[in-house]
Structure formats: C-alpha cells, structure tokens
Chain length 377, copies 3
C-alpha cells in the first residue's frame, strides 16, 4: 500500500492520539467478529465479515500474515490462531507506523495490553488518556460522602493525570452531549453526588449530566486536552444525543480557558464537528473509528470533515480496540484517505506538493504533538 | 444500460421489498408531474421535469417507449398517452427485472393495481405488506369500545397478515419516530384508544404515539418483518421527527424478540440508519425512494449507506408509487448505484469479483428472501 | 479558470442573490484572517490559511493580483496592501462576473460598501435586502409602547422595503428556526414586545421567537422574498437549532400565501433544505457561504443539494462579507461546482448539453430574476 500513496503521507510516523489496548490472548471467530465493528454479533444467517471493515481485513491484513490478499475469513482466522496473539499483535501494531500512541485505559483494562506494553509492542512512545468517569466511579466505590466527593475526585484526577497526556469524557454514552453552558456550582455538584452515591451499588455507574459536566470542567482546569466521545459507537449509544453540536454551549463556556477539547469519531456528525473546530479556537477533531469501519469509504469521510475543519485542527486516531488489525487499518485508511484528499487537489492544481506535505504532517502527527505537548515532558 | 453494469448486477432478478401499486389509468401532465417526486405540484414558472428524477425519465424511460433518449417532456407524455396506461405499466414493470415484489396496500388502494395484478403485470411473484395504521383505522370505523379496541386490532391484523409478507408502520408521518422504549401497558393502550375513538369522526385518522407503538408491537408479536417509514416523504412529513435514531430506544426494547425491523428510505438520515443496522442484529434498511429521486446521484447515497451497513442488512426497494416509471427507475438506479459501488472497490483491488457477486446477490434479492421468508410459503 | 468550464457555465452573468458589502479600507493579516472563514481567530500555533478557503485564496486570488498561483500568505497580503483596498475590491468584484447582486445591509453597515457602491465597483445592478431584525431594533430604540410596536415595525418595513428586493430573517442566530406553525396573534405580539421593550437597553437586541415570527410574517405579507439564515455561521450560532427542518411547520403555514421563502447557506443541513425546496412550491435554497469555505469541495456540496432540489429552486449566492475575495471565490466555486455536476451527467449520457445550459441559466441567474422580480421595476 505505502508505495502507492504520496511520499509525504507514506513516510509519516503517525501519532495515534486516541486508541485502546489490544486483547492479550487468542480469539475465536465469534469474539473476533464481535470486535470487528460496533456490533456485538451478526444477524442470523449473516457475517460481519460482509462489511467494508471485513473486506478490508481480508484485503490488507491477510498479506501481513503471509496469506494472499482476499483470503477467506476461515483461512484468515486459522492463520491468525497459528501465529498466536503475541505475534499478530506485534505485526499489526508495528505495521501501523506509529511514533506515539495515546491509550485510553478506562474500559476493559484487564483484558487489554497496558499503555506501556502497547508502546513496546508497537515500537512507539505510549501515553495514557485517563477516563474521567472511570476515576469518578473508582472514587465513588470508596464510599465518600456527598460533600467529600467533588474534592476527592479532583484530587484523584490530578494524581492520575500527572503522567497522562489527556483525559476523556464519555458523557455521550451515559447522558448525551447537552452539557450545561456554564460551570456547575459546588451545591449542584454536591446534590448530584448525593443522589448518585445514595443509589449506586457496589459497582457505581455514573450517568448524571451535572457530574459529567463537573468532570469535564476538572479536565479543563487540569489544562490537559479533554477528549469527548462523540457520535458513532456501539448499541449502548443514543446516537442522536451524541451530536457534537449539543456541546456548543459548553464549548462557548470553556473557550476563554483555552484548554484543548478534542472531539473523537464524530461520524455521522463529522461536518458539524468540523464547524465547531473551525469557529472555536480550542476545539479539535478526528475521524477515528469511522475510518476503519468505513474502509474503502474512509476517504469520503475525511474529505467531508476537511470541508470546514482547518488543517491545524484535524488529528489522526484509529480508536482501535481489542484487535490490532483495527490500529493497523485505522492508520492505513487514514493514510489512504488523506492521500486521496491531497491528490485530488494536487491533480486539479489546487495546492502544491509542499502544501500537501505540510497538511500531512500537521494532521498525521504535528497537531497531536502540539496539542498534547508530547515533546515536553 | 444492463450491458454496462457488472454481469453479477445486470443478471440479478431483484426482490422489490417495498413498493406500491401503479395507477390503473391514463395520466395528464399535471398528474404525472405530481407523482414524479414528493412534491404535489411545481412552483410557478418551473417544472418538476427539471430535477434529477425528471432527467432520468427522459434519459431512461423514453427509449423503452420507442422514443430517443432525452425526449422532451411533451413528447414523452404524448407517447405515453398514445400507448395507454396498461401497455406502459407492463413495459416498465417487466423491464424492472423483478423476481418478487412486496406491495404496501395501505394507501390509495382504490386507484392502484392490487398486489396480485402488480405481480401479473410485472411477471413476478407478489406479496402484500399490510399497513398497521390502515387496519387500526378500519377497526376504529366499526365503532368498538375503548376496551375492545386492542384485541380487535390484534385479531384483525392476524387475519390480514395471514397471507402477507410483512407489516408497515407510518408512525413517522403521524407522530414521529420517538416511540417509547418499552411495550405500552394494556391500560395505556385502552386510555389512548378511548381518547382517539371518542374524538374520531366517520373516517378516523390515527395519530397517537401510544397506539402507533402498540401497533408496532403487534407486528413484532406476529413475527413478520415490521417496516417503518423513515425520513424522506411528502410535505406531510415533519422530517426532523423521522430521524431513525429516534427509534433507538424502541429498537433496544425489541432486540431480544428478534423480529426483523426494516427501515425504509431513510434519506437524508441513511448514515444513522446504517449505524442502527450495524449494531442491532434485527435491524435492516434500504435506500428506496431516494434512489429514483436522486437519479444520477443514487450511487452516492448507496455508497454512504454501505459505509456502516453490513451487506447482509441492506435491501433493494423502489418505493415506486403510481407511475411504473418509478419501479423501473428504482431498479435501474439501484443496479447502477450498486454497480458503481462494487466497481470502485474492484478497480482499487479492495475485493474480488466473487465478493462483488455475493454482495449483489445479498442486497438485491437474498437478504429480502431470508428476512421475509419468501421461499417458505 | 473560465476556460476549463463548460461554455454555458463560463459565460453566465451571475445573480448573487445574497451577499454583504466589502470592507472599505486596508486590512492587516489578523483582520484578513478573521474575515476569511467563520472563525474569529486561529488557534495558537495555527493559521486559518491552512484551510480549503485559505488554499483557494492562494490558488485563485493571487494570480488576479499579478502573483504566481499558490503565493504564500505573506506575499499575498503584501501585494494586497500595495495595491490598496479600492483597487483590490474592484478587481475581485468585477472578476466575479455578476449581472446583479442583492446586498444584505443589516450588519456592520458602517464598515462596508453600500449596495449602490457595491454595484458600481462590481459593474452590476445592485439591490438591497432589508434585515428584519435590524428594522425592529431600530424601531425599538425609538421607544414605542408595546401596543405601538407591531404597527410601527410593519410601517417601517414597508418604507424600507419599498426599494428593496427582499427581506431577511436572522431568527436562526437569535432563537433558532423552530418558528411557531401559525401566525402569532396581535395579543401575543404585544405581550412579547412588552417584555422585550421593558428589558432592552439603549441598543436593543432582539431574541424572541414570537417577534422573529411576527417579522417573518410581515415579510410574507409584503410579498417580497423572505430570506432565512439557515445552518452554518459563526460561533454565535447554535447550529443544531438552525436545521431548516425546524421551519417545516412555519413553511406549511405560509405555503398558501405563495411569497417565496429562500433558505440561505444550509450547510450541513443542505439535503434537508433541498427536501423542503422540493415539496413546498414557495421554498428556494442556495449553498452560499459553504461554497467558498469548502473551496475544492464545493462541488460535493452542490451535488448533494441537487439530489432533491428541483433545478428551478436552487440559486447562486456567495454570502461574501468583508473580503471581495469571498464574492469572487463564491462565484468561482459555484461555477466550478456546477460545472462538475453538469459534466458528470454529460459524460455519463444522463442529459444533453441543452439541458446543462438550461440548468446553468436557471440556477446561476434565471431563478433569482424570477423570484426577486429583478426585471420588473
């Protein structure tokens, strides 16, 4: 593949500013298929290999395992099992061509490689992204009073974030993105904490808009980039509540602080997210998750995103989770999609190769280095 | 046309899983134009032939009537009148290349060919789709008490559906798609029926969310695929209330039952519908109506839909209504749009011809046969 | 550029049915960049020249100033300063190739050339578009009673509109587009006026849904086309409240009157706007603002818009504001985008050159002449 894309794209050592760990163990077909897209399982009589994501695995991943391109799902999984998870993880993560990766440790951490291991396996520097709600739930499980909760969370976050590159909010999954357009008061947070803590069981699950907002403000106050899950996700998402435009009021309220806010995924609301990234100086975005799911169509999604998003605001991420194929394909489709975008303008005389190279560098690595301050620390 | 698309697409005998009858009689220009798009009439000083739908009629339908491609609207309508409705209906319906068609009988049935006649004229097997609200309104007109209504509707539906392939909800047109995320209780249905029946006149028109939800659950309980009008329609639709994502809670509530739910049309929310079809095993979708309205742009709509929709979940429909041209063009643009999608991947080496043939078979016929169990009955 | 587009497009004298004046004075880099997109300022470490809009300035505007294509931002701005605002304004406005322009005078009028001056500089006929809210705020500042307000506004509008081509509502910016689906009563208007007038200071700012609706109805009653800001704008917009579909009820209520309603910009809701333009005979739309911001991608936006919009309903506008480059680029990208759309069909044999020429004439000038009655009076 690399030989067919522009040298300025092929040569990029990418910064994957948002991904998860890969599964540390072998996977049967059912489990592999459940990790391939956002579906838990295929419909009766169908397979999730019959999707753009599945076709891309057969086309692009099979050759890395020494199989012909377009190998059947059965052959692919047999070869994968033969090589073993450790080998396969290394092959794909190294083939992604990463300089750095930022790993969200907030979900299913026990089954997945840690950031440090991800870095070793990928041959890249690894950084942690701390999930705000996971920290809040950890604190809640320790039984604080409603009055203690806010400070305890803030302190724990500061501790956890001391060596992290950023934090992440999953308000979208739990309550939607209509965060209030101002900082919640101490009394509001205390009342919300009281309600939640009194009803939460042994494994508290946060789903309260005031507390999601409080956590996001804690992130803003820390000064570390605050990532938001936006748009596309699994069946737990109420996707229409995850339109990034619902966050407009909150973005207006945090603009003056200047802490970067990074909108993740965004599909199918990527044009709205790009608008936000254009008009709010502190807002950034990516097209992760959609790129490896849309495979051959990733170029279309990236091109739509770049209609309004300034090139200094668009970042690469794979959002790979579980399968190292997704980290690899995320990088591959980002490169190919960006290449298609850049070529379309080069072929039409719209910009120069130097412009293309600068855009490739910014979106593939430079923006993430600047926003996450990866070279200072 | 057929000669220019891939053989695996050109040779498909399609299953049109959602269409309506055609008008059984000759049409003047005004009436023809009123059936061509979702507009009732053109603006002063304009014609609806000046649209992608109108250009496609002149390009693709004129030659079937023995006229040169691109014949003028006047010449086209004169030739159509000369041949007569019966001849024209037969020409276009046969040219659509259908194996089966599923005909919604819930609207304007008196003016349109019945499913049986549609099948004869098209040279295809025909199946009925029973419109839920039409059955409820029929029952309501018979004057049941509020307490009798629910059972009477359920019984009538079972009777009507005994020889049908599926049922259809038009909640979108009447109340929007924000169906409650759980089954309404008997008391809720009784109360809603009481309100409706006491206010309904001689020709009751259902527009009550609880009753739409009750009807949809009746469909789920019958085990027949439940079609939902989603998105694009005529000026009676409040389109923003027809976003398929509003149905997410209801889909979550019905997932465990497993009865297929088929989202019709979906434009311009087809990417959201495709997300639902990916993450919910019981959800399917099509791009009907949009394909013949968007004509030359149908390929773009289909490609966007297939970004997330697994190939085992996407079905062909024309949503043709009134004009047999629309059944023909629906089939033509589905074939051409799918062909463009498949070729884009073949040309780039993303998949094999065997993959393309399988995708063509699934989306053009196989998925519908499986979901509607067309070969078991 | 003109030499590479179809003659029927290149030869068009466009009617720019919605734009603003240009700044009458020289601009530093900061001010230039703040007018280039909808962002007030770039993020730290970035430049808004790194956007499709910025690349287009370097590619297409630099040669008009005698620089090589792709000149650097620094060279471009230096040359611009050397020539001076008056020269530059004239170069770009004349190069836009306009027959007529309709100038919105409701914002920042003091800094911008008047409609008459815009017409002189552009070598085109100029017409005024009166901003409804600006008139209401002007009346409010004169201290009417709540009871006098409605009639005073209506009278002032009639006066202001006597020599205008149309009026414009910015309800989208202030309260969103969910206008009530019926005419507000006199009592409702009086009550709303009372609330507003009693709280407004020396420079009243209207943001009341009842009053926005009243103003829009005044426009309808005047019989002049009523423009609505829809969708994309600066950071003051709550974009999700500017979905044109929220206006559906109001459009249904005004359909019988027949006064044209023109939906401006629409991005990223242009497909929904096109649906409205198809099903409501009195609704028209454009793709202004998005075209010059999306630059090289304008063709994609125009093609999506024309999926459903009849060709008799789509109008050209630049929405140029402040920088004459935007008027020029708006015209350039409209021509290039329309050309790409028309060619795609010509190349595929979907329509004839005569069809293409008619579509170019309608969308580039004819529709606007008919809707705004530019040749009567």
């Amino acid at each position: 593949m690399e030989s067919t894309v522009l040298p300025c794209v092929a040569g990029l050592r990418l910064v994957d500013h948002h991904c998860h760990g890969v599964v540390d163990g072998d996977l049967g077909r059912e489990e592999f298929e459940s990790l391939l897209t956002e579906a838990d399982a295929p419909a009766p009589g169908t397979t999730l290999f019959d999707s753009l994501a599945g076709l891309a695995v057969r086309r692009w991943c099979a050759p890395l395992l020494g199989l012909p391109a377009h190998a059947s799902p059965g052959d692919y999984l047999a070869r994968r099992a033969e090589l073993g998870a450790e080998t396969v993880n290394g092959m794909f993560l190294r083939a992604a061509g990463l300089a750095d990766l930022c790993v969200d440790t907030g979900f299913a951490a026990g089954r997945l490689l840690s950031p440090a291991r991800m870095g070793e396996v990928a041959g890249a520097r690894a950084h942690e992204i701390v999930r705000l709600e996971q920290v809040a739930e950890e604190v809640a499980a320790e039984g604080p009073s409603a009055g203690e909760f806010a400070d305890a969370v803030r302190a724990r976050l500061a501790e956890r974030a001391a060596h992290a590159a950023g934090v992440k909010s999953i308000a979208a999954y739990r309550a939607g993105l209509a965060l209030p357009p101002r900082r919640p008061t101490g009394a509001e947070v205390r009342a919300a904490a009281g309600r939640w803590l009194s009803s939460a069981g042994a494994r508290p699950r946060l789903a309260d808009m005031t507390l999601h907002a409080y956590l996001a403000w804690c992130g803003v106050d820390l000064g570390l980039p605050v990532q938001f899950h936006v748009g596309y996700g699994d069946a737990d998402v109420d996707l229409h509540r995850c339109d990034p435009l619902l966050l407009t009021g909150w973005l207006r309220a945090t603009a003056a602080v200047g802490t970067p806010v990074v909108l993740l995924h965004n599909y199918p609301y990527h044009r709205g997210a790009a608008y936000l990234a254009q008009v709010f100086p502190h807002v950034y975005l990516d097209a992760g998750l959609a790129t490896h799911n849309a495979g051959h169509r990733a170029a279309a999604v990236i091109a739509e995103t770049l209609e309004l998003a300034p090139f200094g605001k668009f970042l690469f991420s794979s959002d790979g989770f579980g399968l190292p194929e997704l980290h690899y394909l995320g990088a591959l489709w980002f490169r190919r999609g960006l290449d298609a975008f850049l070529r379309s303008g080069l072929d039409a005389g719209e910009w120069t190769y130097d412009d293309a190279a600068r855009i490739a560098h910014l979106t593939g690595a430079g923006n993430a280095r600047r926003v996450y301050r990866l070279d200072q620390g």
